[in-house]
């Protein structure tokens, strides 16, 4: 191990779902205090707080007032659905920079019942047409020139992959079966918002949102929080044997944005920045995708999971459909993907997601995942996408590896 390695000392997510009686700070505080307890440390040990709550109204400072005000710097970060991963990345950078030896990253969101998260702009047309904005629009464009809804955008992302690779099978059923896999996985996760197994008929017969995504193929809006304590290698070596044994090494922590590509102004390109983040992460970790025991990737919609098999290098280029059809991404397959149930069933409280997926991986690497434990898991990858776009990829390894 290297002197500049970073470790996750404590990490926890709340149950995802409906929490009508608790506000964002209650949820953030629960995750924070549980993560601190998990790591055997207190707010007094933290040198930085990075906090994400995309839709408000919370800040890291409001959290501190409920769990401990120590005067440390707070970074309130926002990066769409990658906000949680960005908070973690911020805390890791502070430690790498030598500013402190321990830090806390927290993400929280209350989304239960939120409905569509975009496309809700006012739809009343002006009384007299007047061009405005960068496209000189005289009326709202959503629904008139394409769609800005997330289910519709990500539906096109998945369909484009099929077009680019000359897929000739039954596309609707293909994507529905990906969703079926994740819903089946969720039955073993007590912290998931939805833990019901769903048949292919139920999924395909559910309310259509944006073809080919039905409601059960969309990420579930829900409430939840997740928090992580990160520590420097040097500091970790001063802690107890138990703390050291349960610590998870961060083999790679990468954040990218979308580089310019033809068509990226027309349909958000979630591929190039993921491929770039994955390449950087594998390089930093000195491993390849074949070394991974499990992957949590950003299945905000069933159509998204497919493209990220390819983007993360889990299959040969163009081989995402074949990888899925082989059964490799089932929890008993050679490359288990989204054994938590994924965003489609575990839920997607957006700013919490980028830490919660890391918690899932850590849970397995510590051998503490109970009924859904991936046996012998030593190395895992967590991926998150924020549309706009941001991509976080973390590669994690158990201490005993």
């Amino acid at each position: 191990m290297a002197a500049d390695d970073i470790w996750i000392l404590g990490i926890r997510m709340t149950k995802f779902g409906k929490h009508p009686d608790r506000d964002t700070i209650d949820l953030a505080a629960e995750a924070t205090m549980a993560a601190l307890a998990d790591g055997g440390v207190t707010m007094g040990d933290m040198g930085i707080l990075a906090f994400g709550n995309l839709r408000g109204p919370s800040t890291g400072q409001l959290l501190q007032k409920q769990v401990g005000q120590t005067g440390i710097p707070v970074f309130n970060v926002a990066n769409a659905c990658a906000t949680g991963a960005t908070a973690l990345r911020t805390a890791i950078m502070a430690i790498k920079a030598g500013e402190c030896d321990m830090g806390l990253a927290v993400g929280v969101e209350k989304l239960a019942g939120a409905g569509l998260l975009s496309g809700n702009a006012a739809t009343s047309d002006d009384n007299v047409y007047e061009p405005s904005g960068r496209q000189g629009a005289v009326a709202p464009l959503d629904g008139r020139i394409g769609t800005v809804t997330m289910p519709g955008v990500f539906a096109q992302v998945g369909m484009e992959y099929l077009y680019n690779h000359d897929y000739t099978g039954a596309e609707f059923e293909l994507f529905a079966r990906i969703s079926q896999k994740n819903h089946a996985h969720s039955t073993l996760n007590p912290l998931a918002a939805y833990t019901k197994e769903m048949s292919l008929e139920q999924i395909m017969g559910d309310v259509m949102i944006a073809y080919p995504n039905t409601r059960s193929m969309c990420s579930a809006n829900c409430d939840g929080a997740a928090a992580a304590v990160v520590v420097s290698e040097e500091k970790l070596r001063t802690l107890s044997a138990e703390q050291q044994a349960r610590a998870i090494k961060v083999r790679a922590s990468v954040l990218t944005s979308d580089p310019w590509q033809e068509a990226c102004q027309v349909l958000p390109d979630v591929n190039t920045l993921t491929r770039s983040a994955a390449a950087q992460a594998y390089e930093a970790a000195g491993i390849g995708p074949e070394d991974l025991d499990l992957v949590e990737l950003h299945d905000c919609f069933a159509t998204a999971e497919l493209v990220h098999y390819d983007n993360l290098g889990l299959c040969a280029p163009g081989g995402a459909v074949d990888l899925f059809e082989s059964g490799a991404t089932n929890r008993n397959g050679s490359m288990p993907v989204n054994v938590s149930g994924g965003l489609e069933s575990k839920g997607h409280p957006i700013a919490a997601t980028g830490i919660a997926n890391i918690w899932e991986v850590c849970h397995h690497l510590r051998g503490e995942a109970g009924d859904r434990q991936i046996e012998g898991a030593r190395m895992g990858l967590a991926h998150v996408i924020g549309l706009g776009s941001a991509c976080g990829v973390h590669i994690l390894e158990s201490a005993s590896a």
Partner: protein, 132 residues
């Protein structure tokens, strides 16, 4: 009766077509105003006409949208000789039996609304091309 395009990159007249802003340095094309090219940082742009026939590279059929947005409608990406265009697919039954990846489509315009002064806003979509 007066007309106004829904967006300024739709040019009306006898042969309606889309107009892109093309980076003079690297050829990247944009349908909105840019301060500099996102690809090469160049600041010189020229207006170029985009063709009116292309191939449907991706689509979705939106069944659930914001209040006031009529559904279902088909949203997609049309490839016109290497230039990608975001558009609705119109004059087609909005179901996966009729909308197919790779189908040939062509530009069509239609009135999307009329303001208090009687001006029509003209929008565009792509419709199935003859012979497809």
């Amino acid at each position: 009766m007066s007309q106004i395009p829904l967006v300024d990159y739709l040019e009306l007249g006898d042969a309606p077509h889309l107009v892109a802003q093309e980076c003079a340095s690297c050829g990247a094309r944009y349908f909105d105003r840019r301060n500099a090219c996102a690809g090469c940082f160049g600041t010189e742009f020229r207006s170029v006409s985009v063709g009116t026939e292309g191939t449907l590279r991706s689509f979705t059929i939106v069944a659930h949208a914001a209040p006031g947005v009529p559904t279902p409608f088909v949203a997609g990406v049309v490839d016109i000789d290497g230039t990608s265009v975001k558009s609705n697919i119109i004059n087609i039954s909005p179901d996966p039996e009729h909308v197919r990846l790779g189908m040939k489509v062509r530009l069509a315009t239609h009135v999307v609304g009329t303001d208090d002064e009687g001006t029509d806003a003209i929008g565009f979509g792509f419709e199935p091309a003859e012979g497809d």
